[in-house]
Amino acid sequence: MTTTGEPATSTTPPAKQRTRTPQRPGDIVFSFSAKAAGVLILIILAAVAAFLVAQAWPAIQTDSTELSERVHWLGQGRTLLGYVGPLVFGTVLAALIALLIATPVAIGVALFISHYAPRRLATSFGYVIDLLAAIPSVVYGLWGALWLMPKLFPAFQWLADNLGFIPLFAGPAGDPPRTILTAGIVLAVMILPIITAVSREVFLQTPTLHEEASLALGATRWEMIRMAVLPFARSGVISAAMLGLGRALGETMAVAMVLSPGLAYSIFLLQPGQQQNIAANIALKFPESSGLGVNVLIFTGLVLFLITLLVNMLARWIVSRRAEFSGAN
């Protein structure tokens, strides 16, 4: 790098000349349109945030006793934060379950595609994974509700009978199992493709020299992956997981179709009617809501917006913190 850099610095005059030359119309148009596109994104984001705040404002401002009187489904004496709290809990819980299930599987699939499968199989396998990402969430919901649930029930019942002493698996298991664990499993299947696709790309970026070096030192394939590929790809896998988490947090239709909602801070994964996620709650409540009820729902939407923003910032922070160790530079 340094040796090739020195000649470049000695040829500075042409570079200066280039800056002096007048820009062609194409340059101006392109730089303007690129700038406009960049600014537009910010404007849209700001507009969404402004809309959410403006529409949620009446609900924030209204006194809590008046609010629970005028929005009857809020429940007696429930404040706005008391309503959003369990929803946030349910949203995060479902997304975390999904992430816990999906990430290891996705890493395995991605490693198989990038390092184990024969090249021709890997390509077609990659296509299939990408195809999974294109399935609409309502289809996942139908699949979960009609096909998956009856298959899950015996397993859930076994969990409740044998591991019921762990609070997470306390019974009785709901029949049909319209519970947060089912929702988490369906969400896991939904976010699997995106985590797999991004991880696969990152694994393929591992410098071949690193891989060959570790193999030359006598490492087995698994050791090579553990010592060369995984450390290199760690930050990429984390951001892939965060992308998946973002989708799981905002998923509406599939959750609405497989979960019996409830508003409790409950960690019972096998009992129906305990938790609910924000987006599904909005979908269920919006059609018959009016006035302040809509404002309350939009407030929950604002909270979801903030959560996803936080998750993304967290992912950025993790990635930037890890970057120096990854060997990517």
Partner: protein, 370 residues
């Protein structure tokens, strides 16, 4: 947001319709007459566009009515937007739609808005009676009978197993298993829930301590979105019980409900009969057929768990074309032909002849073009 947008679209549609009908409607009106159709032979075939909006409970019946009406009146075009009862009443009050469908009666504020819009009162016509079935899935029990207090106990999640003595008392002959009960309710706000809880709070006494509400009042337990979601959840588990529009019950068991001293099986006649047994609502304008549903009736052969959905129309339409079309359409809906069409496609209970003659009188009283 959605509602407002629909309102605007509906307004545009209606405005467009008015403009079109104002242009060249009258000459067209006479030339489609002459078909041998018995339903439309007494009055000239009507034409034009009108829009309605409101209760989604009426949606499939409304589709049958629109199809039946338009086949008799090919130049008429009627649309119905199932935005929900509240949305329908709001749009009606704003003048965005010519008629509304609603599961509940307008409140004073909405009545005032409707009065301003119509220039006269608006009236409710109970044209859609939909029995609500108590559906269950329990192997080995085919003939479940439930008294109101037992039903309330089950749905309040106080009775938790099928061999509970209270259920056994209602079913002396049945072999009841010890399966746990999963009571399934609607997770979205719905007219079905509202009517079901209204029934429970009217009849079950202390066994049902909750207020009637479109939103299920008991926390926890199984729930699902929409009628089909409830039916599918009941179907998907063992020992489940739920409530749903009778037409969607499918192959599931339907419980008999205790009325007076007997257990009544759900039927269209029994459901229509409870509407006849009910007194008219108080303080309503002339011609308004809103009723105070008598859920606690003890009359023989009535099935009191019903959803009654109203068609709300003006008593006065200043636009003649619109008024004529509304009158013709609502007359068709009330006719035995229309009611049978709805029964066939939506599983509703046809209104009785007594109610029909009242409805016809009310429709007759609607003033048009003044």
């Amino acid at each position: 947001m959605k509602r407002i947008r629909y309102g605007r679209i509906a307004a545009i549609v209606t405005a467009g319709a008015l403009a079109l009908t104002a242009c060249g409607n009258d000459p067209v009106e006479s030339n489609t007459d002459g078909g041998g159709d018995t339903g439309g032979s007494e009055q000239a075939s009507v034409s034009g566009d009108i829009a309605g909006a409101g209760a989604s409970s009426q949606e499939s019946a409304m589709q049958a009515w629109i199809a039946g009406f338009q086949s008799a009146n090919p130049d008429a075009n009627i649309t119905y937007d199932p935005v929900g009862s509240g949305g329908g009443r709001t749009q009606f009050g704003e003048g965005a739609v010519a008629f509304a469908g609603s599961d509940s009666v307008m409140d004073d504020e909405e009545r005032a808005a409707a009065k301003e819009r119509c220039g006269d009162d608006a009236i409710h016509l109970p044209l859609y009676i939909s029995p609500i079935a108590v559906i269950y899935n329990l192997e080995g029990v085919d003939n479940l009978q439930l008294s109101p207090a037992t039903l309330a106990g089950i749905f309040d999640r106080k009775i938790t197993t099928w061999n509970d003595p209270r259920i056994a008392a209602d079913n002396p002959d049945a072999q009841l298993p010890s399966t746990p009960i999963s009571a399934v309710n609607r997770s979205d706000e719905s007219g079905t829930t509202e009517n079901f809880t209204e029934y429970l709070s009217a009849v079950a006494g202390p066994a049902w301590p909750h207020e009637p509400s479109g939103d299920w009042p008991v926390q926890g337990g199984q729930s699902a979105q929409g009628t089909s979601g409830v039916v599918q959840t009941v179907q998907g588990g063992q020992g489940t019980i739920g409530y749903a529009d009778a037409s969607k019950a499918g192959e599931l068991g339907v419980a008999k409900i205790k009325v007076g001293d007997a257990f009544v099986e759900l039927s269209a006649e029994a459901a229509a009969k409870v509407v006849d047994e009910s007194p008219k609502a108080e303080g309503v304008p002339e011609g308004d057929l809103a009723i105070d549903l008598k859920r606690d009736t003890t009359a023989e052969g009535t099935y009191p768990i019903v959803l009654v959905s109203y068609t709300i129309v003006c008593k006065n339409y200043s636009d003649k074309a619109q008024g004529d079309l509304v009158k013709a359409f609502v007359s068709y809906v009330a006719s035995s032909e229309g009611q049978d069409a709805a029964a066939e496609s939506a599983g509703s209970a046809p209104i009785s002849d007594t109610l029909r003659s009242d409805v016809e009188a009310s429709i007759e009283s609607i003033a048009v073009g003044s």
